[in-house]
Symmetry: none
Subunit: 191 residues, 4 copies
């Protein structure tokens, strides 16, 4: 197993532990056991627990961004893109601990980590906004809308709905009606 592979093994083991045990149960010892390595070994690959956590954040966010880009690239029209994103987001939410989402920034992270998170989020927004800009050009959606606002509506709605379905009703990601939520986001609910 190469150096990089072992690093990844530890990283994903840490993700699994966080997903299963939550914040409290997130112990270096358990991560080591889950990864099948010694406690000390983690420190060969990560400076500290905090560093490991930051790498998880980074890893998780990058995976999310990749999925986001794929979702948008795969779709034909905006509705299908959002629908794709809904499917991907639900899967992501159910398998990873949703480190990506919202209030992590509140956690007392070191300033520079907060900055990195911020940059990631800006990237996510930019990606969606440029997609929306294309949709405006293509005449799919209203011109003059606030792109940031629209991106927020998309992300927020999809996330909230997926969360509600996954944790509220126990539905698996595939059985969520992704098209319907995409349509509601685009068309609104008003008559």
């Amino acid at each position: 197993m190469s150096k990089e592979e072992k690093r990844l093994e530890i990283l994903t083991a840490a993700m699994r532990i966080m997903h299963q045990e939550g914040f409290e149960g997130f112990k270096m010892e358990d991560i080591a056991k889950e990864a099948g390595v010694g406690k000390g070994t983690i420190y060969e690959y990560f400076e500290s627990k905090n560093d490991l956590f930051l790498e998880m954040l980074r890893f998780s966010t990058e995976q999310f961004i990749t999925g986001l880009e794929n979702s948008l690239a795969t779709g034909t029209d905006l509705e299908s893109k959002i629908s794709n994103l809904s499917l991907f987001g639900s899967k992501f939410l159910s398998s990873h601990l949703n480190l990506v989402n919202s209030n992590i920034s509140h956690l007392s992270l070191p300033e520079d980590s907060k900055d990195q998170i911020k940059r990631y989020w800006e990237h996510i927004y930019k990606t969606i906004e440029s997609e929306l800009a294309k949709a405006i050009e293509g005449g799919e959606i209203k011109p003059h809308i606030d792109l940031k606002m629209a991106a927020s509506v998309i992300i927020g709605s999809l996330n909230q709905y997926a969360f509600k379905k996954l944790y509220g009703t126990g539905l698996p990601p595939e059985q969520i009606d992704h098209q319907a939520i995409a349509r509601m986001i685009l068309q609104g609910m008003q008559k």
Copy 2:
């Protein structure tokens, strides 16, 4: 100061500490100092640190529900109601640590606390859904829409947008364009 008042004093001190210091800095000693009481006194009012945390969750959620109900009661039409909710939600988000939101349920809470959180969320959804039902009767919005989905869109969009504005750009709650986000939720972005 009555027994109940002191309890509340400790509770809100804990909220302030959590808001300022995040999870890491959430020490019993600091909470005591913030509340102006001795360390041992907290244990007269709360069984353990975990119990205190659960009470914060409950308190916070109840405050949110009250504000939600006020927001909906105050508005005339659905747009103003959502706009009100946006304002309230932003203020709530900026002052409280957003314990209410999303992925808290992932944290390793005892089963019964998870249940309570779930019940709170069901109440929140019910409240919004019944408001939407009235709006359908009043002809304001499309009949036959999925109420849960619509509620998710409202909550998710408002929360995401407020978060973006507050933490992304540092805007104060009052300067967010609540009417615009309400309108986008209702009318969608499609031509």
Copy 3:
């Protein structure tokens, strides 16, 4: 209730708590509750927890000494005296926590308290020894025996046997064969 009565009430409440809960559960709060007084009130009657404990020791030992003297006074011959003592000792053991016995002195008591315990034990020994001396004069037992040793055999045997019966087999004090143990102590087991 007079001052002295209330003091006694607290003292006996403390004895009950110690008997039920053992050393670990011996809390000022519980003693106060058991005695039906406020926590602070205990301090009106006893200087400290340690003082209270010492008074329990004293009270308990004095009660034991009284019972010991009665037992010896009531009997006619030595066998009946020891038999009486066996009955009393068993009752005492089953109702009081046996503070009187053995290894209490090991507990880290202040020097002066250890001295007091020592003096009590000397009194107990003296009482038994003088009884034995009378029995020698009366020709009941061998002359020239070591009185301290004989007293030890009596106390030790009775206590051990009562303990075994009470806690090992759950027998009530009255159903122990006090005469038999008295006879074995006096006559030995050798042919």
Copy 4:
């Protein structure tokens, strides 16, 4: 130093501390210092302070049982066996804190620990009783005597006398007249 040796080192350090400082002074920190390890290390070998205490009880009792069996095996006739036991018991009493003896069972131990102690005591009694049974066969002592009672007389007398001598007069174990106490137990004090 092997795992088992270190465990033993901590255990005996704890015994020394208990012996010197009594119950009150029995602090994890001091035990660690005495054992020459860090505070946390104790928890690598024992689950909790209570667990450590229980292991001390077990260890101590097992040592006592070993000594008891040796004492009985070494002697030729019953008198010398009891005399041996007296010597061993005195040494044991003066070096170990007498965790083995009497009223420990009163201490609020968890039910299963009480059971274990009980089982140990049954073993101790059985051992002595079978020795007495042999002595009956050998014609050394009266047939038909109550074996449990006789065992109680032996244990109780030896323990009480040793305690009196060691703590009352400060005599070292070797200078106690073990033969005399053995003889008195066997022959009684009656003419």
